[in-house]
Symmetry: C2
Subunit: 201 residues, 2 copies
Amino acid sequence: MSYSKSFDRCVRELSRLPGIGKKTAIRLSMHLLKMSMKDVEDLSSSIYNLKRDTRFCLKCGSISDEDICEICLDKNRDNTVICVVEEAKDIFLIESSGKFGGLYHVLGGRLAPLDGITPDDLRIGSLLKRIEEDGVKEIILATNPDVEGDTTAIYLYKLISKRYNSVKVTRIATGVPIGGYLEYVDEITILKSLENRREMG
Amino acid sequence: MSYSKSFDRCVRELSRLPGIGKKTAIRLSMHLLKMSMKDVEDLSSSIYNLKRDTRFCLKCGSISDEDICEICLDKNRDNTVICVVEEAKDIFLIESSGKFGGLYHVLGGRLAPLDGITPDDLRIGSLLKRIEEDGVKEIILATNPDVEGDTTAIYLYKLISKRYNSVKVTRIATGVPIGGYLEYVDEITILKSLENRREMG
């Protein structure tokens, strides 16, 4: 298409990424050609090293350079409070709001029966195991406040409050716009939604 | 920020690309983690190889795997007609419209005095050299139809028609929306704008 095999190959590879169409891939490839060799090497190796070096924390499911992530290993954090999120990237947003001192648990998605995503597809078993083994006192459900996220929260609330009636189950406050996604919200709104969390039921 | 050095590094490198903000970089990095090692290696190496293997054609300035690109070397193309574009990516768009059989010349930008881009910053000298040496009969000015692109076209028209009065200088037809950019236009519109090109002056 462009009469350069390496250019076409790069455009094809970039186009496979989510949200990057062919024209964006061409624009990015043109930009890469104008970057210094060192900057391109840094980018290329950072992509490779990410996949090589980063793994998912065996405990919370977040990303980590080690088997257990720094947050789970941090003795200064309150391991009796677990904030449950859909994806690891939601943790970074909550962390950057700066006030939450508990631990996290990544579900790896949310219930979406129409898409074939059932409780078995989420990291729920490992959450229940943590509740049992670590003396957890509160579970904060921080799934996104839309239909699937609310469904997932209600499912988890019923499951947890039935099995462990000493565990308080809370939901992040509205404040995060209804129908929205955590990742599009400012840090103050995220902080408020944690502070104003309410007990479910 | 994410408690994984390789993740943070990848986010930082991706954020340096045009049009990719921090949240997009995080989303892309999360996607990379979910891809297979082979797919990530393919992407990483395609970026590195692009920079290593692709150069700019010494004649037309387009991208190429060799010193002279395939289009310039193609004996079946009419080397007396040169289509002048701002960037190499505009060539791919014109080529995919499928009807143009001449050669190209990449300016490497357009005149923008306010941004400090003057004729000396564009590949104009090499264009004049080609007109003299290759017996060029027609120059098609396919710069974008906005203020800077039109200014660049008028500048080149005056320069070329004054020096070489046997050379016909044409401008791609309107049809490409005014104020728009070649890369956002469909192929048929690009084809029409080539067919309806008009002589300048």
